[in-house]
Symmetry: D2
Subunit: 254 residues, 4 copies
């Protein structure tokens, strides 16, 4: 039975691409996303057409029991989850305090912080029992500094980063590898960057930067590092790593 | 009319002591705490017996509208809030993931993160309208590193720290001073440390360390720095500061 | 005999102003700077005309024995050093790697890192013997992030920050209070900002920002916080603090 | 002609092992170390016996022109340097301030900070001209926090970390990849850990922890990550990463 790589937040950018890569590495990719069943099916078909194993599910991660039930079903029906990619963000664009409703603020926490807590609660005991596993968490600079208009995003991503540290402190010695991966730049992803910019701006940006195939962060190349991290020998684990394009300044530079 | 210093989390440690100090500096201290009406009354009477102004309220900060209504009432009935001390923590002791219920994890967020968001939502517009104010936020090392068993505490305090940064980015230029104050050590406070240790251990600890009046962090001395921060000239603001006893190693040392 | 406040780097900005303030607080201010004897004399006379005690010395801090001999002479002739303000920077403007000579790189280290090490080596044993003292270290964002063109500045200031941490770890429990004070903004100081910009730009900047008396960081107000830090009770020490103007974004914001 | 991987600090731990790995990946490994010509020859012979290319040199990195001349000679005689591994540390054990001589403090800076500056000054222009290259810098927790007795080590490693950031800010956009790799744990290396502990303690430690092949950090496994980092696509670079054994607590945990 193949080990499972469970992707929570499997859009056409990092989530779907990393899932496909794990399928190529011999995993059964289980791809979960909130909406766009057609897009989900395309990802699954893409993997299968390469000879890989994949299954897709629509999953509303903020709904009670959604993550827990999915994990239980995957373990029962598909196989043991060896790798989780927690890829849900909470970016809602820049919003002033006044226009950040309590609901939006809480939603950010439910997606970025509480969702990981629920995932870990469901999956860590299983991984411990099997002697190991990896939880890769995609993160952003909002986890380490709070910019204007980022109330919900920064609070929820920072909470998530510290949750990664407490999870590692408890489960690292049992072989569960938690990695906080800070994506510090624009990813060449139609589902997120594309939607944020709109089709014209996105095409223009890709033409000026993406044409060189390295101005934007390429999901295929990001996947190289995710796979490497998931397979690091346990004597040599990374818990925090940053990623950015060579021609972008890191977040700490002015 | 005296300016108001509103303390959310006014126990017998930092909250009550800092509130009393602000009363001595000419503020009307509005002290809010969840329970122990007798303790609250003692704090209020203590301030009044010194000739200061104080009012006390029981306040359940995680209840909807509790903070918002209290702020509105204070502004209407007592005076303009010049300083807020947000002093609620989310420490629940060390708990493994398994024994950290969803409810406990969420409660930590409601107290440490969402409560500050609600407070800021209610008070920042008023402060901006008046040209300024200060929000002092008591914090702990859980905001900057996640130790074992601290899932709820670390996630919620880290979220709060980044929220302080986003609030500062939006409201600093309008004169609202947000300060994240990291308390890195044991405070000589009967309501928290005393209850955690129990009366005997607490007395023993005070005898070995507190008798010298500087092994434990003294709330009266902590108050000196809180008052200083609230009154820094706006050309020279601190946004992040740490505090610890001279004979404690900082959190970053091994 | 008055306690001594020794200022290394006593220009007309932070150094001279903080020195004057300590004189007003009852210290004998010993002001040291590399050059401009007239400027130095003006500072000393200014303090004396207010009834304070001050002595000035020209001091080339990168010259062997200069700091050590001055400290020994001050202790012998003037009084016990209670507070040191180490105020030397290593900013040499933005320089590419190619135009940063080995000499410049080393000079930065000699001023910003090694100079503090020498100062601490000379003064810490005396402070320990007397049961305490304070070393205030003025720092900059280069200590926590390396911007383009800042090879010498960033390497030397970061070295200094970690040296503050090792000094605190060794001498804090003996009562020597080390504070790393990160100045995150432009200071209204003719000797540094004024010279960097030239008289016209400096005047223009002061007119647009300084006229409001809070767009630039005012040395007099910075001094309030320095004095507070030097006098924090030892149960409640800060080791790291940042300072900036209310309308400047912190270094961590983009 | 094979690309060159230049290792400065090629002992029997990380330096030699990573060098050997790069040789297996098709590089000519140029191994430099201060002493132990026999050990150096064994490393070189080991690589050659596997069919790889390697050359070894004794190099005193703190001696003027030593690094610069070696780089020039390698470029002239062996080939273009594609990867540099800067692997010199400045750990001298715990020393109080009193027993840290000026000479020791300066030596730390010459090895850990200035040596990298000299290396970068010699190699970056060549890499820029060729459109890219990678500089991997082995680091330690002393770069991010200063423990007791670590005056020389912490000041020099922190300076080095910020130097990595300034180098990246200048040379990243030209394709030179600078990575600061924080080794947060004990490495199974006879030349460093072995000498520090002495043969008996080292054997005992390996028996209790190393026998499991993952209690100590294994240089062979560390090399996996170094090679991955050096070959990351330029759209997806890491600049800071940490590494530790699964059963060691990260430095930030108490």
């Amino acid at each position: 039975m193949k080990p499972v790589c469970l992707v929570i937040g499997a859009g056409a950018g990092i989530g779907g691409t990393v899932g496909s890569r794990f399928a190529r590495e011999g995993y059964h990719a289980v791809l979960c996303r909130r909406s766009d069943e057609d897009g989900l099916n395309r990802l699954v078909e893409g993997i299968r057409s390469e000879g890989g194993d994949a299954t897709g599910y629509l999953l509303n991660a903020v709904q009670p029991d959604s993550i827990e039930d999915r994990i239980a079903a995957v373990e029962a029906d598909i196989g043991p989850i060896r790798v989780v990619l927690y890829n849900l963000g909470s970016q809602v664009g820049d919003r002033s305090l006044e226009t950040t409703s309590y609901k939006v603020f809480e939603l950010g926490w439910r997606m970025a912080t509480f969702g990981l807590f629920r995932t870990a609660s469901a999956v860590c005991p299983r991984m411990v029992e099997r002697g190991g596993g990896a939880i890769l968490v995609t993160s952003s600079t909002a986890a380490v500094r709070g910019n204007k208009g980022q109330h919900s995003h920064a609070a929820s991503m920072a909470g998530r980063r510290m949750l990664c540290q407490t999870l590692n402190a408890e489960f690292g010695p049992s072989g569960v590898h938690i990695v906080h991966i800070l994506i510090d730049g624009a990813v060449d992803a139609p589902d997120t960057l594309g939607k944020m910019l709109g089709p014209e701006k996105y095409r223009a940006l890709r033409e000026t930067r993406g044409m060189e195939h390295d101005g934007l962060m390429l999901p295929e190349k990001i996947a190289d590092t995710y796979v490497h991290l998931a397979h690091q020998h346990r004597s040599t684990w990374s818990n925090e790593i940053d990623l950015r394009s060579f021609n972008d300044m890191p977040w700490w530079n002015s």
